[in-house]
Every structure is written in C-alpha cells, then in structure tokens.
C-alpha cells in the first residue's frame, strides 16, 4: 500500500499585508483582530420555517459550516456574533426578534436568509412582517425561496468579509449610532 503525503491539499488562511522578516511578521492590530474574528464567528440561528431546514443542511457534514469557523452555534444571544434570521417573521414575532438582537453584544452582524426574512416573500399579508430590515439592521441578504446551502454559505462568506475588513472603531462612529437610532435601538 502506497502512502501519499497529504500536504499539498491543505490551504492556510491568507496573510494580511505586512512586513515579514526572519522570525517576525508585523502588521496592524486591526488586521489581526479582523482575521481572528472572521474565522470564529458564533452564529445564533433564528429559524422559523423552511429556510431553517436549509440551514440544518448547511450545518451538516456535507456542506459543513465548520469549515468557516462557525460550527459553534450560540443559542444565547449574549455570546453570539451573527444573527441568522431564516424564515417568515410574523408581525407578532417581530418584537421577539428585536429583543434577541438587542440582547446581542457589539460587534454584531445580521444575515437575512430567504425571501421571507428579506421582504416578506410570498406572504404579502396583514400578519407578516414585510422584511426584517423594518425592525433591525441587516448586513447581508440571501435571496431564494429557500436558498440552497451554497447560497447560505456565500452569505456567511460575505459576512466574513465584512467582519474582516470592518474598522475596530466603526461601532463607536456617529454614523453607526445614527443608524441604530433610526431603528429606535438606543
């Protein structure tokens, strides 16, 4: 039996730009923090319907969100970094979703998965919230009814990009505070 050295197939994360020499590597703190955060996002799944089923497939072995450092789901909003809203949000559910968002610590991101969470979808009716961005700010929208796991992963990768490149001071900026105020959050 032949043994094959398995070294070529493993790829490491990309290095941020910096100055490299013998035994040292210098870059800005912001880039290191961004890289660390990017690869350890703890998602909070807020799954109400069929998009939640697609999310389960996304978390399963075949698609495996663990490859992106997000295998650890946080079922407490206080420790979560990313709120993943998947499914129809009825108007009665709106205040619950908002409270979950308010309980999350900064920095926090929101991924809206599926047509219903993004815009109400086919449920253009008096009882359904016409998009979660009416009550909480959304970072990335994933369209589809429901989106395939590849699309959800693409959305997570877009979030990763935001997490990596976001300025450490963004959350203190007046623009960010004004944006939250627009939603009536603090």
């Amino acid at each position: 039996m032949q043994t094959v050295a398995n070294t070529s197939g493993v790829s490491m994360g990309e290095k941020p730009p910096g100055i490299e020499g013998a035994g040292f590597f210098a870059t800005s703190l912001e880039k290191v923090v961004g890289m660390a955060r990017k690869n350890s996002i703890w998602p909070l799944p807020f799954a109400t319907s069929c998009c939640g089923i697609e999310f389960m497939a996304t978390m399963g072995a075949h698609y495996d969100l663990a490859r992106f450092g997000s295998e650890r789901l946080s079922f407490s909003p206080r420790q979560a970094d990313l709120l993943m809203v998947m499914g129809t949000i009825a108007k009665k559910m709106g205040p619950v979703l908002r409270q979950v968002y308010e309980q999350m610590a900064e920095p926090r991101w929101v991924l809206s998965v599926g047509a219903c969470a993004c815009s109400g979808g086919i449920f253009d009716t008096y009882s359904v919230l016409q998009g979660i961005d009416r009550i909480i700010p959304v970072d990335v929208y994933v369209p589809g009814c429901p989106p395939r796991p590849e699309q959800i992963i693409d959305g997570v990768m877009k979030i990763q990009h935001l997490v990596e490149t976001e300025s450490l001071r963004r959350r203190e900026s007046p623009e960010y505070k004004a944006m939250l105020n627009k939603y009536g959050i603090e």
């Binding site: 108007k91 009665k92 109400g120 253009d124 009716t125 008096y126 009882s127 359904v128 016409q130």
Partner: protein
C-alpha cells in the same frame, strides 16, 4: 349522517324550538340548521343534555362575513360521538353590532374559538371569561377577515402597480 337520523334530529328540535328554526339544509349531506340568534345557547345546551341527541362535542366554531347581506354569521359544528352524527348550527348577526352570548359555560373548548372569532371578525361573545385577541398582534385595530379590509400589508409602497392588487 343518514337521512333517517337527520330527520330525527330535526323532529326533536322542532318539537321544542319550532319558532327558532329559520332554515334547514343538507349541503354535502351535512345537516345545517339556521336559527334565530336569541336562543342559540339554550338550544346548544338542549342538544347537549337531551338523551336522544347527545351532541356533546364541539368540533368547531367560527365566523363568516356576508358583505352583501351586511351580516356576520357564527357557525357551530357539533358532534355526537356515540352515534357519529354531526350537526351545523348557524346564526346571523348584524355587521355593525355583532353580539351574541358565549357558549363557554357548555363547552370549555369554545374559549379560544370564540377569541379567534372575535380576533378575525369582531364578534362580541357576552359573558366570555377572557375575550381578547388570540392570534394577531394585540395592538391591531382591524378585524382582518372582514371583507372590507384588504389582505395585503398596506405599509408597502414598492408593489403599487396593477399586478399586486393595490
């Protein structure tokens, strides 16, 4: 339900409440009796307690809006579990003031059904222990299943062409 037993139910009911019966029909072989609204609770109690009829299970209760009649109907579906017979009762209430008496004293299960009927049609069930909305948000000001209210969410402004019914 067989025709003979349907006739037996009608006969038993007519014996005592002849004047209350407005109309009898059997759509899809489902005996449906339209009654005057005043004595509905008394009649349901009679159907429950009568040893011949024993309609002791409430399958459902709900509302129907008839905008052309300007009336809101309340229907009651009763079930005799001994002989597997079913019966539908129907009363009509005026649209501007739909008030009737609660049947929670007979069927405890009518509690949520009456709340639902209030929630969607605005029917007031007098004597109900907790008549408030059950499914919709509490601050809703309309009764959404009445036909004068549109189905669609009215806060959207991006679907205003003829394709979306606005």
């Amino acid at each position: 339900m067989e025709v003979s037993s349907q006739e037996r139910v009608i006969a038993t009911l007519k014996e005592k409440y002849e004047d209350e019966i407005l109309h009898v029909e059997t759509p899809y072989n489902f005996l449906t009796i339209t009654l005057k609204k005043e004595k509905i609770v008394e009649i349901i109690r009679f159907l429950y307690e009568s040893p011949d009829l024993r309609f002791q299970y409430l399958t459902s209760l709900g509302g129907i809006h008839y905008p052309e009649l300007k009336q809101i109907a309340v229907f009651y579906q009763l079930h005799n579990l001994y002989s597997n017979e079913r019966l539908r009762l129907k009363i009509y209430l005026p649209e501007e003031n739909p008030v009737t008496e609660t049947i929670t004293s007979i069927f405890a299960g009518a509690n949520w059904l009456e709340r639902e009927t209030y929630d969607f049609y605005g029917v007031i069930f007098e004597g109900h222990p907790n008549l408030k909305r059950v499914l919709n948000v509490e601050d809703m000001i309309i009764f959404p299943m009445r036909k004068e209210y549109p189905l669609e969410d009215q806060t959207r402004d991006d679907k205003n062409d003829d394709m979306f019914g606005r």
